[in-house]
Assembly symmetry: D2
Homo-oligomer: 160 residues x 4
């Protein structure tokens, strides 16, 4: 059974619009990143939404929750904006206990070269295969439990 990757947007997939100088979403770079990493694990990628996590509503989170529940794979990675990652993790963590779900993201867009996204994706793929059932946030080389993780916005980092 392959690993399921659900894409929701976030800094990970932001791009620079050279016509107006604004950041925007076009399509996910997940396939490109996995290819760059010479990843040979079988994965399924599905884009659920393409939004900044500050714009994520309860409805969006129910969509994510529903997709995780229905998913036949027991190994799920969710790419997600960092600003509200802990909220989505909590909603999933309180409900789903028979799958390993890893939320991950990036502090810098992948397309901007100096991204931490490739590093985080590598660790998310590893944690999803090796951690016991539960919901986690993989950032900074850490695997934080959904029950304790929170983003320290002032310092721009996750703690837990």
């Amino acid at each position: 059974m392959s690993i399921q990757i659900f894409v929701t947007g976030g800094t990970f997939d932001k791009e620079y619009n050279e016509k107006n100088g604004l950041l925007f979403f076009r399509k996910t770079h997940l396939s490109e990143m996995l290819e760059l990493g010479r990843c040979r694990k079988k994965v399924q990628i599905r884009t659920l939404m393409m939004i900044d996590s500050l714009e994520m509503t309860d409805t969006h989170r129910q969509t994510i929750l529903g997709s995780c529940k229905k998913c036949r794979s027991r190994q799920i990675i969710i790419t997600h904006g960092t600003d509200t990652m802990e909220i989505t993790a909590r909603i999933l963590g309180q409900t789903i206990t028979d799958k390993t779900i890893i939320l991950t993201g990036a502090m810098i867009p992948y397309k901007f070269g100096s991204s931490d996204g490739l590093f985080n994706l590598g660790s998310a793929l590893a944690f999803v295969q090796s951690m016991p059932c539960g919901v986690y946030v993989a950032m900074h080389g850490h695997c934080f439990s959904w029950e304790r993780v929170r983003k320290n916005r002032k310092r721009g980092r996750f703690e837990g």
Copy 2:
């Protein structure tokens, strides 16, 4: 206790010498890569050697083995050339059973931009924290046991 990283060289750390057009080793890029990945796990980096793994002799491998034995951390990552990674893994795996040791490397030098190194480093850091004691090779998003892993040189990939 922090994670121990032993550097041995390999494609990971190769650079291009612009004066003679040859590839060479200067110093490890591990710190730079961990910084780029916004890694916040406590790690210790120590360079044991800086060589192409095709030049690795029994003496070199005994140095690696000795360093792993003496190491107080039970979580060890070894960066290593891919060509003989399986040999070093076997020597370690036959002897050390009370630590989690992850060998990893890259198909493309980190400095050449399109490297899989950052992805592999992320997964190695995750596996070393989450896998049971034993010796493994982390490449392509997989975690191969030392007993089965081998590099398919013709296809340029690890199998196991």
Copy 3:
């Protein structure tokens, strides 16, 4: 006599703030870019301002004009946001006729990897050495005269 480079900001030097997801200015990357290009021409770099060219006022332009007039080098490059580059070019072009002044910029920030900035900087440095006195915009491999250049914002390119 060395080439004078005046920095005014623009897309060239924008960076991504990973704490709030906004673009901002910190310091110029001109030295870094010239080093990357292995440039060995003697240049003087001076930052006049660090702003988006949409925020550039008459006062800012008088500062640029004054700096160009006082400058002892007859070869001047100005890095500038693309949105109002043509306005600054016109003000300079109407007044200064005894120096070669090249305005250049980028459609994508240098720090975002896929920048046209390095290419434009290379061409600006070449044009400033080889074009007769006058004021020009160097973009897209072209050297546009200040009298005709205009940015086609819809297509995201300069014409002239």
Copy 4:
């Protein structure tokens, strides 16, 4: 009339073979580089050969000379390995006087990220439009006359 670009190989176009760790040529990256630079000058790209300039023989140089003579454009750029660029420049310079020919190259392969190639290409494109007829080497932001240019191999730079 468009600018003619003749490709001969050199460091510019070298790639890393991840199966054997050697550098090799596949195809030229000139189109990709011009696209990255948002170049909008009309250019014609033709690959004459794909070799290391240390392997360049008299026959190769006669091919280059012949191509330059027959070329209908009076603006020609030649990408060339740096090691013998001065020899080819001399052969062209002694014969062709009614065209502007710019030889350029790179100290680091374009594919290795930290290349000076994009910078040099930008300056070559500018010089070829603005310099009087003659044969030149564009490296390091300089435009060296074929009569004086030489590579200082020890210091890894061009002088003239």
